[in-house]
């Protein structure tokens, strides 16, 4: 058992020990992409926005807001894959929890950056604290997002405490600053039974908290749209519709992330074919749920075809946005809701391909929710220049959005290079290793 644990520990610390050339190139690429985004942001803020971005009076919310919704949706992956699975005692959550949690935390940071990019006056952001008024859904969003990010960070960090001690004791070849960091972050972890008890208890409480918080942040994000009088957003279905879409996106993103980590860090032993099989089944369930909400959202109003909705619905079904709408329907929920029902489709590679299309479709789905509707106003749009009636994101907008994706991947990559991306003690515990042995292990090193 001791040997098994040692092997496990050494496997899971490996990505921190050595970064291959390909790994370095990957990090370098992501950094360059982020710098491009920073430069684009500098251009956007230093020049006239009429020239740098394509937003106009009618389509005043563009890709920044739709990508913001995408990231908020993605941030629910933590609530799903680490909290919900843990709470319902699905033992296979163990190697997945931390991956989900770090994606969750970085996604919510990116959501914040998107909002900052979308604001006309980011220099006045602090007015939200100075003059914030509780009746505005934006203020609700700020409150739940800040709470969710705090809970998510804790849920990420607290289970890492024992591992910081392991890193401190094991990674002696690392530079002094890293060892200093591990030492500080371990907060004097000794592995005392009392400490284990506190860690487990805190994680349990946080897991319980994070589920309603996750549901809240995405429901409130849906309300940012549903509280307006615009016909395309005027739906009581919006909250659950957004939440179910978020869980589907979270599951798909997780499949992609697990596949990549498994492949590049050679974690086949920990992230097993069984994990894909189960995530594939989960994808079917969530895909069907999302199909159900989509039917409610589009089919019922299109049955009535009221004058207010007709413009928008016909644009989606047979108009300008139809190609995007139907692609999103097929790849976004029909395929994930059906194909992985077959066992062969739940194998790592096919499932990852399906999941990748779901992630891409999910981004376009948010685009379809936010943008085409804005150009179908109650009153006809007349006497405006061409660019006011059709929104196509500018190069600067797309560079910034692209850079947020790079930044998200960069955070996840760097995290996995500094800390174990799979929780050593949680996996060991799942394998039947007695936690007191891990204690002993650490203690023996400390003497």
């Amino acid at each position: 058992m001791q040997e098994k644990y040692s092997k496990m520990e050494s496997d899971l610390l490996q990505p921190i020990r050595k970064i291959s050339l390909a790994g370095k190139i990957w990090i370098g690429f992501l950094i360059i992409a982020c710098l491009c985004g920073l430069y684009a942001y500098y251009l956007q803020e230093s020049r006239s926005k009429y020239e740098t971005i394509a937003l106009r009076d009618y389509t005043m919310w563009g890709v920044y807001i739709s990508t913001f919704v995408f990231y908020v949706a993605l941030s629910l992956v933590g609530a799903l894959m680490s909290a919900i699975l843990k709470l319902i005692n699905f033992e296979w959550y163990r190697p997945l929890a931390r991956i989900a949690q770090i994606i969750s935390v970085s996604a919510i940071i990116m959501a914040g950056l998107c909002i900052d990019s979308a604001m006309g006056r980011p220099d006045r952001l602090y007015y939200l604290l100075l003059h914030g008024r509780l009746q505005s859904p934006i203020v609700w969003d700020v409150i739940v997002v800040v709470t969710y990010i705090a809970a998510s960070c804790l849920l990420l960090f607290i289970p890492m405490l024992p591992e910081m001690a392991i890193c401190r004791d094991r990674l002696t070849e690392k530079p002094a600053w890293m060892r200093w960091m591990y030492n500080k972050l371990s907060f004097g972890w000794k592995g005392a039974p009392e400490q284990w008890k506190i860690v487990k208890r805190s994680v349990h409480i946080l897991a319980v908290m994070v589920v309603p918080l996750g549901v809240s942040i995405h429901t409130v994000t849906a309300w940012l749209f549903a509280t307006t009088l615009r016909p395309e957003w005027d739906s009581t279905n919006f909250g659950p519709y957004f939440v179910s879409g978020a869980f589907l996106l979270g599951c798909a993103a997780m499949i992609v992330a697990v596949y990549m980590i498994r492949k590049f860090y050679h974690y086949e032993k920990y992230l097993t074919v069984k994990h894909f099989d189960r995530m594939g089944k989960m994808l079917v369930l969530l895909g069907l749920c999302y199909t159900y909400f989509n039917v409610n959202e589009y089919l019922v109003p299109s049955y009535k075809m009221s004058g207010l909705h007709a413009n928008h619905l016909l644009d989606l079904f047979v108009g300008e946005s139809a190609a995007m709408y139907w692609m999103v329907a097929v790849f976004g929920f029909i395929i994930p809701g059906t194909l992985p029902m077959f066992k062969a489709m739940r194998k790592p590679l096919p499932l990852t391909i399906i999941a990748t299309t779901v992630v891409i479709a999910a981004w376009f789905k948010r685009y379809l929710i936010v943008i085409p509707g804005l150009s179908h106003t109650f009153l006809p749009i007349q006497d405006v220049p061409e660019s006011w009636t059709h929104y196509t994101p500018s190069l600067i907008e797309m560079t910034i959005v692209g850079a947020t994706f790079a930044a998200l991947l960069l955070i996840v990559t760097l995290f996995s290079r500094l800390f174990p991306i799979i929780s050593i003690w949680e996996v060991a515990e799942g394998e039947g290793v007695n936690l007191s042995r891990i204690n002993k292990h650490i203690k023996s090193k400390m003497v």
Partner: protein, 321 residues
């Protein structure tokens, strides 16, 4: 009131018209100060005179257009608040501004648009007031539809603002404080009438704002020149506080737009004065998309018995980016 306007207006049959000239003086004073106004040279003397009952009666015009007599001791001069209209957050005291648009009179001259743009230093394509071609039913004739911020009594825009940058004032106007706005554009998404406009910093517009910032015509309380913020029709509160009708009303050659005070129950287009309640009753006034529950403070009179047959616009507007 604006003079020198061509007398194109076709008089309505409303009884109120008979006393148009008397009412004009009445309206001017009442717009200035609020409350009841007096007619004749006697007024000044009365207002300045002693406040003890002297049995002396003076004639006053009541809200519903009747001449009544009141003991002069009960008449008080109305104090004009000289600061009214200079603070964006403070409504003009005693006022409840209201607007009526007579669709039967509009021939899409676009003078209101140009007047408004000049008043607020706006360049096309930004229009705080728009004139749209509307056609509700295929068999009906289309009509021209001037449209701006309706200053709703249940404004969806002010509800969603996270920082109280847009709000409802005591005088009924919905205003935006451009020094507070953070540019989230939520109010623009919330407004079902698309009445709001964003300063994206179009270079020509920015240069124009800079060049004309000290022009005498502009309404100083609203600041559309504030980059990255939302603005819209402000109802010209600075002018209204001084008793001057907004630019869109003054410039319209057809007297389409009426502006006034619900408390006084009067509206005027500068040449005619109507009793608001009577006008809305007689002409079947309605509010655009009233079913949305926004309670607009702008009423439309339906395009029936029109002064002009509908004519398509001769040229396309705002085609330049």
């Amino acid at each position: 009131m604006e003079t020198g306007k061509e007398n194109k207006i076709i008089k309505s049959e409303s009884a109120a018209n008979e006393k148009a000239s008397t009412r004009r003086g009445f309206l001017k004073l009442s717009l200035l100060a609020g409350g009841v106004a007096l007619a004749g040279a006697e007024v000044t003397r009365m207002l300045a005179g002693p406040k003890t009952s002297n049995g002396e009666k003076i004639k006053l015009l009541s809200k519903d257009g009747k001449l009544v007599e009141v003991d002069s001791a009960n008449v008080h001069a109305v104090v004009v608040d000289s600061t009214a209209g200079t603070n964006i957050r403070q409504g003009v005291p005693g006022k409840k501004f209201v607007r009526v648009i007579d669709l039967a009179r509009c021939s899409n001259e676009r003078a209101c648009i140009e007047g408004c743009q000049k008043q607020h230093n706006l360049l096309p394509p930004i229009e705080w007031i728009k004139v749209k071609k509307m056609q509700d039913v295929e068999m009906e004739s289309p009509y021209w539809f001037p449209q701006m911020c309706y200053h709703c009594d249940n404004p969806p825009c002010t509800k969603v603002c996270p920082v109280d940058a847009t709000f409802k004032r005591s005088d009924g106007l919905v205003q935006t404080d451009n020094s507070r706005c953070i540019g989230c554009k939520f109010c623009m998404a919330a407004c079902p009438y698309s009445a709001r406009s964003f300063n994206f910093g179009r270079p020509e517009q920015t240069a124009y704002f800079e060049k004309h910032k000290d022009d005498p015509g502009i309404c100083p309380t609203s600041k559309p020149e504030n980059y990255g913020t939302v603005s819209k029709c402000d109802g010209c509160p600075d002018d209204m506080a001084k008793g001057i009708l907004p630019a869109c009303v003054r410039k319209c050659p057809n007297g389409v737009i009426f502006y006034g005070d619900e408390n006084e129950d009067t509206v005027s287009n500068g040449d005619e004065i109507f009793q608001l309640s009577a006008l809305l009753t007689e002409r079947a006034g309605y509010r655009q998309f009233d079913t949305l529950g926004t309670k607009p403070r702008t009423y439309y009179l339906p395009p029936v018995k029109r002064n002009f047959p509908f004519q398509e616009a001769k040229e396309k507007h705002n085609t330049q980016e």
